[in-house]
Amino acid sequence: MQLEAMYQEVILDHYRNPLNKGLREPFEGEAHHVNPTCGDEVTLRVHLEGEGRDATVADVSYDAMGCSISQASASVMSDLVIGKSVKEAMEVGDEFLALMQSRGQDVEPNEDVLEDAVAFAGVSKYPARIKCALLAWMAWKDATARALGEAS
């Protein structure tokens, strides 16, 4: 069955035991994103230490409702970006976005950069689920832009 290719053990582990879940203080930016096709929601907060793109992502906390893919993705994302500079974290986000947009083509995911997030490669074969995997990432980008005062 193809199901195992999509629901990698890593994904199911993060889904059952999500990291960094729950909303915490302090935070400088918050974003609420919805997937209008299915109703999945995430509220996500970003706490930065330092200034601009060199600031460190000190914390990412979130409250989310949704499918295993969206929940696991939020968990993996938070674990990946916490401790990195905003600049580095954005690069990881771009790499993840490229993986999701590969539509299952033979793009070799960069495991050094993406770590656990490579497990989502199978998801990119299912267009209906790509949004699930990207929901938390988009919320994180948005919340970070707000924290940096870049958002309108």
């Binding site: 629901y7 109703g39 949704g66």
Partner: protein, 420 residues
Amino acid sequence: MTLLPEEIKKDFPLLQRTVRGGRPLIYLDSGATSQKPRAVLDAEREFYERHNAAVHRGAHLLAEEATDAFEGARTRIATFVGAVPGEIVFTKNATEGINLVAYAMSNAATAGPEAERFRVGPGDEIVVTEMEHHANLVPWQQLCQRTGATLRWFGLTDDGRLDLDGLDELVNERTRLVALTHQSNVLGTVPPVELIARRAREVGALVIVDAAQSVPHMPVDVTALGVDFLVFSGHKMLGPTGVGVLWGRRELLEAMPPFITGGSMIEVVRMEGSTFMPPPQRFEAGSPNVAQVVGLGAAVDYLSEIGMDRVHDHELDLTGYALERLSDIAGVRIIGPGTTEARGGAVSFTVDDIHPHDVGQVLDELGVEVRVGHHCAWPICRRYSIPATTRASFYVHNTLADIDALADGVRQAQKFFGTA
């Protein structure tokens, strides 16, 4: 005589294909869109290959044939729902039919005295229900926003019925319009439209019914319902996409200002202003969806040949069996009435600790195609405190074995995610 779904299935080319590694396709998503029998596909193709021309203009043979095909379909579609052809307005879909009425009501503000019935403003009320598809909710929210009218709604009972306790208070002398579904696309519930329409008439309110989920699945007689407007969509009743129907009582259509204006709907045009055709042409501006209307005509012929009573009985059998099979599974909760009483063939459910997206993914892997999400009726999910549901919906080609595959698939999902 009951209908023979295995025989009917042979008429649908798409249902012969396989999916996901050669599995037979089990299509349980007709509530979203139905598949098309060969007769409908042939009718569209034949129209383009033999008769295509602009309708209602031109003096050549093709124009005559095209007009006959178009207006002939209108007549058969009218008969199918107990109406006369002059009351059938072709739209793009049911959504456009509802918007047509909502915008005509806005436009009534600046139209002549004949449009008085359609005017709404501050102090007036529009009543909807909590089980509406967004198509029969958002246009009314917007109309209220444009005009200052107040939106009110019927709530739902825990078992997925309309809560009618406050009927006389909710539909009152301030009510200008009641908009409700004839069959919920999520819950399957068939609300008592006649009862509500009677109350609406007492207070002089108009009634518009969203029949997108009823006309495809049960005999519907628009005059027996006692309503003023009714809309449905071609693609949910074996017809093509891109065609829907607005039915309206003739005297109302005659008094109603247009929504979309332009060619084909005018009587006389001068630089200073224009006059309009009588209905239905007044509401059909621009080149119409002729091939799609012809296809819908063929769909109506196909359904009539089977007989809508038999279609309905067949779907009730499937619904009853699905309710039984799904309820047998520990952790499955039916969202909607648990019996087939006043109910149609859309069965929504949740599975404990598995998100509907994930249930749908496992089913898809097994070739069972269902809908997951909020089904364009988000307030229902909020009402029942669930993020989304999995929905199976049935049609003429479905069998009891299809439902067995659904139930087996749900159990497989539970196994895969380790919840049972």
